[in-house]
Symmetry: C2
Subunit: 170 residues, 2 copies
């Protein structure tokens, strides 16, 4: 089974973390919640509480098979850290599966890894994705090689299905 | 005195709205809080409550002398509306004063008005500003003709000083 890194901070969109997290665990994958420090983070809608298990300074891309970035305002908080951007860059460089939903792709913009990649995301960041030289596609799920992205909670069933398919290929 | 439009939604950064708002009022300027609908919006930190006075569909740039965009996650929520982007574009086109702090410039990115403009903003949106062809300057306040921008709450005294100076020139 795969070992999946999740990047999380306060104000994550609750269902965008919970539903894929539960689906990955149910299939037997190992999911590790990573943040900037060990603490409890809180979702923006249903105030889901999640424990950060590992600090970004203590992890390496080599230790994982895939990366998952939930949306909400968590990505905005995470992308100011160089260690977070370096971690994300390594997954893209190694072409390991990267799953980003809603505002998740904001971290990919800051990590400068979207040039000529097909991607989707929440409509507020559409112009940012285009300016980052990505090809923005307004669809429920966009699969571009290792990169899988979706727009919002409504897209979760399609997002999860494609993520699980990609994990099965490992 | 000047008539200033403020664009506001939930999760605005409390002090970034309140301090300039109070400073503008104190100097005798008329400040009108505009949102997507008439409702009470709530700040992200101290949970400041503010009444939206006018809906974006009922206002025109012609009715105002200046525009103020506070930060927090309010700009992310506002920039998905075409009416908001059109309103902002008109201020920039007419070269009327535009004041943006923190995440405020996200709306300017979506309105596509930052090309070759000097600007600053919260560090999470630095790459987005650069990708929008703006010249990002990491300083407490950046004045580029009609456009005044700052990075964060700590910059407020400098931001307010430059905004008031610009309003005095009207």
């Amino acid at each position: 089974m795969a070992k999946i890194a999740v990047l999380l901070e306060d104000l994550f969109e609750d269902s965008e973390f919970l539903k894929p997290f539960e689906a990955f665990k149910e299939k037997g994958h190992d999911v590790v919640v990573i943040g900037t420090k060990i603490k409890t983070v809180t979702g923006m809608k249903k105030y889901t509480k999640v424990e950060i298990e590992k600090e970004i300074k203590d992890v390496k891309e080599k230790d994982f098979d895939a990366l998952f970035i939930p949306g909400g305002y968590s990505p905005d908080k995470l992308r100011i850290y160089d260690e977070v951007l370096a971690f994300v860059k390594d997954f893209m460089k190694e072409e390991k599966p990267v799953f980003a939903i809603c505002h998740g792709s904001q971290i990919l913009i800051s990590a400068d890894v979207l040039k000529n990649r097909k991607v989707t995301g929440w409509k507020s960041i559409k112009q940012d994705l285009i300016n980052a030289k990505a090809t923005f596609i307004d669809d429920k799920v966009v699969v571009d090689k290792n990169l899988i992205s979706s727009r919002m909670p409504d897209d979760l069933p399609y997002f999860i299905e494609e993520c699980l398919k990609k994990l099965n290929e490992l």
